[in-house]
Subunit: 286 residues, 2 copies
Amino acid sequence: MEQTNRPTVIRTVDALREALAPTRRAGQRIGLVPTMGALHQGHRSLMDRARAECDLVVVSIFVNPRQFDRASDLQAYPRTEEADLQLVADAGADLVFAPATDEVYPAGFGAEVRLRGPLVETLEGAHRGSGHFHGVTTVVSKLFNMCRPDVAYFGRKDAQQALVIAQLVRDLDFGIRIETCPTIRDPDGLALSSRNSRLSPSERQRALTLKQSLDIAAELVAGGTTDPETIIAAATTVLSGVSLEYFALVDPRTLEPVSSIDRPVLAAIAAEVGEVRLIDNLTLLP
Amino acid sequence: MEQTNRPTVIRTVDALREALAPTRRAGQRIGLVPTMGALHQGHRSLMDRARAECDLVVVSIFVNPRQFDRASDLQAYPRTEEADLQLVADAGADLVFAPATDEVYPAGFGAEVRLRGPLVETLEGAHRGSGHFHGVTTVVSKLFNMCRPDVAYFGRKDAQQALVIAQLVRDLDFGIRIETCPTIRDPDGLALSSRNSRLSPSERQRALTLKQSLDIAAELVAGGTTDPETIIAAATTVLSGVSLEYFALVDPRTLEPVSSIDRPVLAAIAAEVGEVRLIDNLTLLP
């Protein structure tokens, strides 16, 4: 039997601090699962991991306008709070922190937390603009300070974001452990994403070719092919009815392009399917 | 009798966290006095305030290269660690955190915390370049995360910096109380500054005219003069043998110029005396 009580929903930073104070005073472990809502089983897997490891689990739900490069994308981003609260309750998380936009960015707000270097400039940084990751590192810094968790959980589906967050924690000394959890997929292979709900049935069929292209690359690498150009050419031929932004083979830690595949490599893809932008990735082992 | 034991000196972030853990677990109050060393009675007044209000007082000593706009200024900045430790011991502070530069900025460091808006763009921001306050907000964010104090103490001599830090704490939700303490002056009126040790006797005489200019402005405002131009013209005539960067009459909270003085106003001055750049300020009451 899964738990079906509605979790406690908190809307303000002050109330969050108050709710967390007893746990903190008791020296117990606080886990944070930061989300933009429209929760799915990928988020659920993060909550399950947090529930197993922490005394108190906070799920934040905040669609962060500062990390969207396009107003249309922000507006179309799915918002499903009632269903989200049920999923959080089922996962047995303790608190939902779901602030309004002006609680996070009140009038006069003027701070920005940014990283420099290849981690934020390549792949998503190059295609969505540098403002995307500045928006991510700013809101995550705020959430970290609001919640002061011991551990925070992110999904490997956003592999670059997880690396960026890890560098943020290192560079600014947050003293928070970052756990990156495996991508969860539907049985047909599609990586779970809040954006999938916007796909029509035919778009969904086309979206499957993203994972298929990653699988082809994985097979080639496993079979001994070492030349990135050969692999990318073969992998991208399977894409059908999607508008490719990038298919890249990069170092899994630095995200810099590799010239020959003699170690594990990250294959990362971004493509638009209709009006929905999707990303996926896979670690390829020679 | 003042205490003369040498304080505990900590060089690494890990050791700092370990040293603070018991105090934090006990729910006791931690106070941080961030400094760049070359400590004087202005710093001492911050430590005294922290000692009176907190269970554990940390004094950080770190000459932050990222907030210096000129390499020559960074190189010339006084470093007097042995004397600093004696002053900290006399003040009864508990811990000195004095990390090396590469402990704070290790290889691969790439983060920056910045504010936007008039607070960082005017006065010091305009004259030292925007990088100055970005350097301040970055290192202070790091020190806050390393130490996680309940309260942090800054001097009003750096009035703009104190306002910038207050906005940083608000915007990024640090949950730290900022206390700004009065400027301490020598009997002749010179505001205490680590840079004063670099003044020759004749430069020191000239440096006194900064405070004299502020006093003239204060007298005019107290006497009913309301026109900023009139006040600035009269105040700056007393400056002698110094190279004025700015003399400004601004709103004490926003630092925006005032057009008529009908409320308390901040008079702020920056000037070079020989090769030493000095700042000072005074709140003027009509």
